[in-house]
Amino acid sequence: MGFFLETLLGGLMAGMLYSLVALGFVLIFKASGVFNFAQGAMVLFAALAMARFAEWIPGWTGIESPVIANIAAFAIAALMMWAVAWFIEYLVLRHLVNQEGTTLLMATLGISYFLDGLGQTIFGSNIYKIDVGMPKDPILMFESIFEGGVLINKEDLYAALIAAVLVAALSLFFQKTATGRALRAVADDHQAAQSIGIPLNRIWVIVWTVAGVVALVAGMIWGSKLGVQFSLTTVALRALPVVILGGLTSVPGAIIGGLIIGVGEKLSEVFLGPYVGGGIEIWFAYVLALVFLLFRPQGLFGEKIIDRV
């Protein structure tokens, strides 16, 4: 039982991180109808900016404190994501209004290659380290309840906490502020939103910036676990099944989908792995997504797809 709980918690925490990346997809898809293939590139770009600025700032300013360097690097990276959002809106999106979804998807594919290249040109293409001072040592819980207790990776715990706080802050922002209301309005109906004077262009910049900051947080956490390197872009591919599971248009769906996939991966690896030879973790999410595509293509919480004939 203790072992089961340990696997479950580990899965939940890993799932929280998938949710975070999936959230980036959902935010952009809801507000602009674009399936943003560049989400992974945004994660890498943001993580690179964060890692490199944290490295450079002490040299430039002479301030040695790693806390200040990290905070400043985070702020600069967030600003860069805002600039990226602005450029994407100005150079790409506004020229493709009312185009087919496929066209927009191809455009984001282009953006993704561009961002990959730009990031590595500016910041270099080695493996960099993000050290935000997350404790690496594991903690032991529930020793009195289960034999041997439950071992939890502190780093995962903090990462999951950060992700949870971000998700909570975002949903408050969406529900409680005037801008959030405008964002939801645009997501519901572009034309009606325009007719009451909500400026689409500005809303898109805001949404892409928010998705950029979400990418930054995801990049920071994954980066501090795995190091900032090109393979970070594949984190986005891991989030793809999450989006299919939760539904492309649902924020709660992205979160719950992420948790299900995280838990499913870990549990199946540990409990089914021995029977089928292991390695389930790698393909579990995709098979689950496939099943969903067959039987419930709109996902758990997505809007039902109704085709008019």
């Binding site: 959030g180 519901d188 009606a192 909500i198």
Partner: protein, 260 residues
């Protein structure tokens, strides 16, 4: 009812609009005076909604111009139209279905919200006060439209007639100079039609809002409009007071003669 009808506020001049080879509107001109209720009527497919969409900036006419408050445009942009004080409702309801009645109507205040994103996010004083003021205004609209009981209900769950009211409320929240109503009574029963007529008259009367409304049901329109434009197959075939229009032989043959 003693209403002061003012000068021309909106002037549509020689508008032509076609989609490929199909002519939706041919050389349409009419004007709208301040504080009046101006109806555009015509059978299905006459080009009424296309006309409204030209004024609202959804379509760009190939020819012609639109003058609003002395400024002339050959092309209107939806967002700009909203800033200038023209609000609209939609024939096929374009409400934000997942949002509550209050939130839907609050979005109409969007242009008047001055506090920036960061002030809102951190709930700093002025942003909070501003939100409350707008909320108060929206509560007045909700009272006016008699939808108090549904404040928090997601709009998608309301019956059609009430959704139409929310749509109207959202447009009203903009405090528009000119209100464009696209078939506000379509699909309604008699009682709902009467309610809607009353709201339109009250809006016009109390706030002095100029109303341009589209209908294909002549009955109600004739009772509440000051002047009526009649379209048929994209052409203007009549323009004048309800009585003049009613007695116009061309209108009778094109419109009433079709068995209404």
């Amino acid at each position: 009812m003693s209403k002061k009808i003012g000068d021309v506020i909106l002037d549509v001049h020689n508008i032509s609009l076609s989609f490929g080879g199909v002519k939706a509107l041919t050389d349409i001109s009419f004007d709208v005076r301040e504080h009046e209720i101006r109806a555009i009527i015509g059978p299905n497919g006459a080009g009424k909604s296309s006309m409204l969409n030209c004024i609202n900036g959804v379509y760009t006419p190939q020819q012609g111009s639109i003058t609003f408050k002395g400024q002339t445009f050959s092309h209107m942009d939806s967002h700009q139209v909203a800033t200038m004080g023209i609000a609209r409702t939609f024939q096929n309801l374009a409400l934000f279905k997942g949002m509550s009645v209050i939130d839907n109507i609050m979005t109409g205040r969007n242009l008047r919200i001055k506090s920036n994103l960061f002030m809102q996010a951190l709930r700093i004083g002025p942003a909070e006060r501003e939100e409350l003021q707008h909320r108060e205004f929206v509560e007045h609209i909700i009272d006016f439209l008699e939808i108090q009981a549904y404040r928090k209900t997601p709009v998608g769950q309301l019956p059609y007639g009430l959704q139409k009211r929310v749509d109207l409320g959202r447009a009203l929240a903009m405090e528009p100079k000119v209100l464009l109503l696209d078939e506000p009574m379509a699909g309604m029963n008699l009682e709902e039609k009467q309610d809607m007529s009353r709201f339109v008259l009250d809006i016009n009367d109390e706030y002095g809002t100029t109303v341009v409304l589209i209908e294909h049901d002549m009955g109600v329109v004739m009772d509440i409009s000051d002047r009526v434009v009649v379209l048929d197959y994209g052409k203007k075939i009549g323009d004048g007071s309800p009585d003049e229009v009613r007695n116009n032989p061309e209108v009778i043959s094109a419109y009433l003669g079709t068995g209404h």
